[in-house]
């Protein structure tokens, strides 16, 4: 009966984290649109967070150290995203002005 090891929810989420990371890594490498690439980077971050939080859930009471690291990571991720989006907008505007950067 017990030939196949039972898959637990933690393992599923761990695998999901890896899958999301790999999928968006592929997206980051192949997509052209800067917004989509930014989304891909964000999804890679989400995959990493998923792995960390799944690992935190291994014990009965979740690991507060990993949770705290992910909370920090979320805020850093949104500041980086906001800055990257503004850079994309500035670059697009510069392109529209004829390829010359702003004075």
């Amino acid at each position: 009966m017990n030939t196949l090891p039972l898959v637990t929810a933690i393992e599923l989420y761990l695998t999901l984290g890896i899958a999301v990371f790999l999928l968006s890594l592929h997206g980051l490498m192949t997509l052209h649109d800067p917004i989509r690439r930014l989304i891909a980077v964000n999804l890679m971050g989400a995959g990493t967070f998923l792995v960390m939080v799944s690992l935190a859930r291994r014990s009965e009471v979740p690991d507060p150290v990993l949770h705290a690291l992910v909370v920090t990571g979320l805020v850093v991720a949104i500041s980086a995203t906001a800055f990257a989006l503004r850079l994309i907008i500035a670059a697009t505007k510069a392109d529209r002005r004829g390829g010359k950067p702003e004075p």
Binding site: T8, E11, L14, L23
Partner: protein, 322 residues
């Protein structure tokens, strides 16, 4: 496969669909919407994985602020910047992700090395060393909630540097707005003023968000919640009011605004310096005052996070240039 895995499998399937759509949806606006939905599903997964702190933060940041940020940016960008993806890309991505994930899963299930031992067998003590340290010193931290204790006491360095990252992002953003003149396409970055329904909603939601933010901040010392969750909720309220035109521009020329932006990092650094010079060491709080110090740092950090995040999300020329 046991029936209690059903909600997990549903969430996993949903998340994969959202991730796929956010990357490969034909229209960019669809991709953005699916990315926001992705944030909501991730928040549900955090709740499922017993991480309420993260669920709160993700719902406010990942699903709320990131969405506004993307929509705001999309208005300033041409519609179809990207070349249409060829079908071959999808299949390549699919094959790559499926093969690599299956290899990982196979490894996870067959190899009974470090990971598997703790995952499949509840008896093995897999508690990491940092975790045991955190548990052992929880009584001296000044707060009861372990995540808050780690964030603001044991790993206070991380949080201090995180506040500095926010400051750096904001100063980077300010460099993108030239000082001399308002941009010529200034008018196009305005939001439509005919959002009557949204304005009415904003009037109801904003006070609720402020109250909830304050509650989360206060509750953070004993239960899930804290400065980041409260700060992002307040930022969401400010963004909403600003977009509906109910809030005047947050003028960078105002000294109070600048003070609010640096207050968190400044207060944190002051505490660090005082404990470093006269106390027991850099960011080692005296045991009698640690609870009070953590709450004060959190209050200032909430203020800074709220203002900085709202400037990062909706800051325009008139907000950021004096």
């Amino acid at each position: 496969m046991s029936p209690e895995l059903l909600p997990d499998l549903t969430l996993i399937l949903l998340l994969l669909i959202m991730a796929w759509g956010a990357l490969y949806a034909p229209q960019r606006s669809d991709a953005m919407t699916l990315f926001i939905a992705f944030g909501v599903v991730v928040a549900l997964i955090w709740a499922r994985l017993d991480a309420p702190d993260l669920a709160l933060a993700e719902a406010a940041i990942g699903a709320g602020l990131t969405g506004v940020l993307l929509m705001h940016a999309a208005r300033a960008l041409p519609d179809e910047l990207h070349r249409r993806n060829r079908t071959a890309t999808y299949w390549g991505a699919l094959a790559f992700a499926v093969v690599a994930t299956l290899m990982f899963l196979a490894h996870l299930l067959t190899d009974d090395s470090l990971l598997n031992a703790g995952l499949l067998d509840g008896e093995t003590d897999m508690t990491p060393r940092l975790r045991s340290l955190a548990d052992a010193t929880m009584g001296d931290s000044g707060v009861e909630h372990p995540v808050t204790a780690v964030l603001l006491n044991f790993r206070a360095w991380d949080t201090l540097l995180e506040l500095l990252v926010l400051l750096f992002a904001l100063s980077g953003l300010r460099q993108l707005f030239p000082r001399e003149s308002a941009p010529d396409d200034h008018a196009t970055s305005r939001w439509p003023e005919s959002l009557a329904l949204m304005a009415a909603w904003a009037r109801v939601l904003a006070p609720l968000l402020v109250v909830t933010g304050g509650y989360l901040l206060w509750r953070g010392s004993s239960a899930p919640g804290g400065a980041f969750q409260a700060g992002s909720l307040l930022a969401a309220a400010a963004v909403m009011l600003r977009l509906t035109g109910l809030l005047p521009p947050l003028r960078w020329s105002s000294v109070w605004l600048r003070l609010a932006v640096v207050a968190g990092a400044l207060f944190f650094l002051t505490v660090a310096a005082i404990t470093g010079i006269w106390g027991e060491g850099w960011l080692t709080y005296p045991a009698a005052y640690s609870g009070l110090l953590i709450i004060s740092i959190e209050i200032f950090a909430t203020l800074s996070i709220a203002i900085t995040l709202s400037l990062l999300v909706i800051g325009e020329w008139e907000d950021l240039r004096s």
